[in-house]
Symmetry: C2
Subunit: 331 residues, 2 copies
């Protein structure tokens, strides 16, 4: 717990000025090579490391890329792995930040504001709650907010995925198919809703509004909606949830209600987070390439930071049906 040496300590120990140390450490011109050697020796001896914070207050660039997430949950963790992979060979450090735990609307604006302009040279924001973030650094959004996207975005084909999921249930013979929606402010959630409706429409089935619940990706909300849906006499024989976490909560609620999965109720999710395949029974879902999402966002950001004009600033990656053990024909 001893005090970290500062540039002043180094300067004193080396018998030179603070600015000389700064120059030596940062390899600026105009320092005698012997002086550099001497300073660096002192630096090594004292174990000096420049404070990222202090440096970033003065210099415009820090060599750090920030990933802003509402929370470190399975989805964002996968994204993070992808970003890490893409940045592995770059010179950038990676800083992931979860502020105020995404409880408040506009968490990303707040986080971005606190970090940008100084700490990070560019940012990737995951499932943001606002469209507009005025910043001084390039920003890429993953799974963006609804509304006009002035930000470069990377997302998965949610509409197509929802279509596949709902059709899968239809193909199995289900006709009463429920839907638990996600965060209504996310473009992806809306697309999943639309995909669900389209698939039903294509099959000539009218959407029963009592079979559509709002889950907002929050377990408590999902629970309420699922309970309400499953306790009614004409309950659905299958439910499509807008993400895996919601789907897993539905499975849990069904279990508490004494419903057998998939005999009494089929459930399908969206995302294919690692937890999906490990749950019992293994969750049927629609896979979105989360790590690739992260990697592509990183590549896009890097390109933006180099001042380039990337050919495409709105990427949509394909999704794929992954049927597992929670979907089966109705009784």
């Amino acid at each position: 717990m001893k005090r970290r040496p500062t540039i002043t300590d180094v300067a004193e120990a080396a018998g030179v000025s603070v600015s000389t140390v700064s120059k030596a450490v940062n390899g600026r011109y105009g320092v005698a090579s012997e002086t550099v050697d001497h300073v660096l020796a002192v630096v090594a001896e004292l174990g000096y490391e420049s404070s990222l914070i202090a440096s970033s207050m003065r210099s415009r660039t820090t060599g750090v890329i920030g990933v802003l997430v509402a929370d470190f949950e399975p989805f964002s963790a996968e994204i993070l792995k992808g970003v890490g992979q893409a940045l592995r060979d770059s010179a950038y450090d990676l800083l992931a930040y979860s502020g105020t735990h995404g409880t408040a609307e506009g968490w990303e604006r707040r986080s971005l504001s606190r970090l940008s302009g100084t700490l990070i040279d560019g940012a990737i924001i995951v499932t943001p709650t606002v469209v507009n973030v005025g910043t001084e650094v390039p920003v890429v959004a993953i799974d963006p907010h609804t509304g006009p996207a002035d930000l470069p975005t990377v997302e998965a084909d949610s509409f197509g995925g929802a279509l596949q999921a709902t059709r899968h249930l239809l193909d199995l013979g289900h006709t009463r198919i429920g839907f638990i929606a996600g965060r209504p402010d996310l473009r992806s959630s809306i697309a999943r809703d639309a995909g669900y409706r389209r698939a039903l429409g294509d099959a000539g089935i009218a959407v029963d509004p009592r079979l559509v619940g709002s889950g907002s990706y929050r377990q408590d909300a999902v629970r309420v909606a699922a309970l309400e849906m499953l306790e009614r006499p004409d309950r659905p024989t299958a439910i499509f949830a807008a993400n895996d976490i919601s789907a897993m909560e539905i499975v849990k609620v069904a279990g508490e209600l004494g419903l057998d999965i998939p005999t009494d109720l089929s459930v399908i999710g969206f995302d294919d987070v690692p937890e999906a395949s490990k749950s019992t029974p293994a969750l049927s879902t629609v896979r979105q390439p989360m790590q690739t999402l992260g990697a592509e966002a990183a590549r896009l950001l890097l390109s933006l930071m180099r001042g380039e004009t990337p050919p495409a600033t709105h990427l949509t990656l394909p999704t794929r049906l992954v049927p597992r053990a929670t979907t089966a024909p109705p009784k």
Copy 2:
């Protein structure tokens, strides 16, 4: 890309001094409540957010906890989820940092030095390369370095896990069992090595040094070691790898060599990262509770930051054998 408002902007717009704004925003005493209201209104209007960096340079505490990782790979991602979970209801923000991508020895000392004293109030370092980190903030190590642990640590029972893994192979009837070791500077790696040797010893089998390779948890090193081991005429019929990433690389190498898993070669890993169960064939492994590791580390750190003296500062969590499809009796 417009400039973020600073405290000076707010002060000007509100017609008060910078210090008054600071006091108002931070709820300090000595400001008329009408002034506070007025200032806060301007703050809201301008969308001002204090710069984390600038604040942290002046105040000793920031309300941010840092997790330092070499890299955002599956293992550390799981840890991160656990830490996030444990901190969900705390008032702390979470900042995960991967600097210099763990390539250089002592990355965590460097990162810690750059962040601590200013940006973060406490840190969790994952698989550090050094024992000693002199800092101004409390630090907890997960999967710590070998050597006298002056740091509070949280780790899994690597020795017991390795014992289970090797015995599993023994029980299946294997007698020529190889081992690909991990990072030799990690206490856990050494314990896994020891567990392997103990299990063989207990079974009355001498350790064949040609059946022990060093992988250092790096894919290229693992590949070399695996190739060397598997190309010899008296190749092992089973290999225990010190972590899953290594094990998966071995499976890959075996495939290239035309060896069938698990018929020609059994492979078992360690960790049970999400990828293990998703690989084909599904990897047999020893599960360590990574998320719990992270959560416990967070709890320990929180307690330390409150100035408490926790009852135990060295936690060891249990591991569990998870046999899957890559282990079978020898031909």
